[in-house]
Point group: C2
Chain length 362, copies 2
């Protein structure tokens, strides 16, 4: 088991990584002094891991009142209406200010549970138990929570840090291959935005990673969490360096929005978005053609899409102009200055238009 | 004009108090560098003061894009559904991370605007322009925002401080007498919880206050804001002393809930709640009978109810057990140790039952 610490002034919290980490849920709730617990999960993850989570709690806290609320599975349910469903369960469970919510699921469940916890009685604590690779390497750490509005992804939310993250790599074995690949998109993103050596490691170990080799998996999850926690420590509220974590996300969010948050998985959209960001970096003189090719190749090797077909360029530009990173309608992209170095920049309209046409937007 | 400063580490903000303060809205938005503005108001206040607010903005920032969203008027609309209405207006207005919301209205508008601002893009800034006495003396300062759930008042929300508070005492002239009285309930509360001399001042000046005498009004608003800002500075997140501000609110919230948030104004419920808290303080040996009588007399002199009739004791106990101050179902009351000194305490069931019966619960 690997234990990392996210170091935020007065609010440090651990990330537990490894096969079997789920067993720590009960002892973490005990350590934190939870008065009651509401486990939030979805219809896919619940049947697989709810019992293991409840057992871990019961073993440590046999008297504790624990309730479960099960949401439908999918990014398209990540909305205020389903936040109300969690809050309504919190009412029924009688949660008080010292109670905990537990997010048992992927990024959607983590984002929604964190957001609901941030608003219940103006903020109670919660624990992340991410069950997808994407959530383990990225979304469960750092305190960004929220939901989508019909007009844009993650347009509303809160910064609300978990009190503990439990990343049990063994649960990834039940993930469909497509979800594994989607998670690898965010893994590749870490290499691209800040660590060329890690990018090379991924080139060498992609097939072992996709096969969920325990050694590679643990190393990869820990490395991504390590990078993320450093970025979050430096810039919790995304006033600077944290924006780099959005590499691939400006295009990615537009893809998700234009396809109704259902046809593409978030990681797939981020993968295609990373390739577009690479092409834009090349177009603006920051990245070599060979590097763009390496990036495309790794993304394809991960089983991910390197481009799109037939989505509307105009609709995407409108979507990107209302992205959270845009100020006064000006779109800001995360670009690469070589693999492993990133920066946030605007780009001129011609370069953007050219890259969008070449990557399949119409 | 009186200017106070709420002193929070790194996030100090001014409170401007006086007749004509509304004129400062434009210069405040200019000073703060707003890129766009969404004014949130209601169907009662909008027709009266929206133009004055817009004129103040246009005079300073003629180019600024300003939108207005008008909610229905009333505590019963303080829910997530109407938060969505604000967010939808934010989408239409194209608000970005540097945009501002402006709460133009009473406590309900302030609470809702602040909550919507706290979640839009995970938090943008907002300005409070309170137009009721209650909002000017209490709810606009301190950063508590939120909405009601069907099962309880202010059960969800966020701590989100405004960047400026503009309390124009001249706008109170259009308030119905009943709303003035409701605001005075919170004013009396400040005397009860922490300032015996202020309580005496109110006894001497109640008729001038109800008549909106400018000198008394300015002094009262400033004094309450002064007390509130000190309490908030000491305990922003209500882990201690701030809980005293809930004097009268445990009973008050139960009254509001049992009457559907429509028959009673918040201040009226707080007034009756303060009398019940006083009786409970007497019952538990903390307050003299004469002081309870003084409190009742002042509340009646303010045109406020000192008791209730015919609401269900059992339903109230259930409501209070799910109040935010309750932990593990144990109700905690703000009690008085003499007028001007308060403390948070549990009480035994018999004392509570006796006081509830005597104050009109059945």
């Amino acid at each position: 088991m690997i234990e990392l610490t996210v170091d935020l002034a007065g609010r440090a919290y651990p990330i537990h990584i490894g096969a079997g980490a789920m067993k720590l849920l009960g002892s973490e709730l005990k350590r934190l002094g939870a008065t009651k617990v509401l486990v939030v999960t979805n219809a896919t993850v619940g049947p697989l891991y709810e019992q293991a989570a409840l057992q871990s709690i019961r073993a440590q806290l046999p008297e504790l009142a624990v309730s479960v609320v099960t949401l439908p599975d999918g990014e398209c349910y990540k909305d205020l209406h389903h936040i109300e469903q969690i809050l309504s369960a919190a009412v029924d469970a009688g949660l008080d200010r010292k109670s905990y919510m537990v997010a048992l699921g992927g990024g959607v469940i983590g984002d929604m549970t964190g957001f609901a916890a941030s608003m219940w009685m103006r903020g109670i604590d919660f624990i992340q138990v991410p069950t997808t690779l994407l959530a383990q390497v990225d979304s469960s750490v750092g305190g960004k929570t929220g939901v989508n509005l019909p007009s844009g992804k993650n347009l509303i939310g809160a910064f609300h840090q978990p009190r503990s993250v439990i990343a049990d790599t063994a649960v990834l074995k039940t993930l469909p291959a497509r979800e594994i690949s989607a998670g690898i998109a965010e893994v590749i993103k870490y290499g691209l935005l800040g660590d060329a050596a890690f990018f090379s490691y991924l080139e060498e170990n992609m097939s072992r990673l996709r096969a969920l080799d325990e050694e590679v998996l643990k190393k990869v999850v820990a490395h991504c969490c390590e990078m993320k926690k450093e970025i979050v420590r430096e810039d919790e509220r995304e006033s600077g360096v944290r924006a780099k974590l959005n590499l691939g996300h400006t295009f990615g969010h537009a893809i998700e929005k234009l396809t109704g948050y259902s046809a593409w998985l978030h990681g797939e959209a981020v993968a295609a978005g990373c390739v577009m960001a690479a092409m834009l970096s090349e177009e603006t003189g920051r990245l070599q053609r060979e590097d763009v090719d390496r990036i495309k190749k790794l993304i394809l090797a991960a089983g991910l899409p390197a481009g799109i077909a037939g989505l509307s360029k105009q609709a995407a530009l409108r979507a990107m102009a209302s992205d959270k990173k845009s100020v006064a309608g000006v779109i800001r992209f995360v670009l690469m200055q070589g693999i492993g170095t990133s920066l946030v920049s605007t780009v001129d309209a011609e370069a953007l238009d050219s890259v969008m046409s070449r990557s399949g937007w119409i």
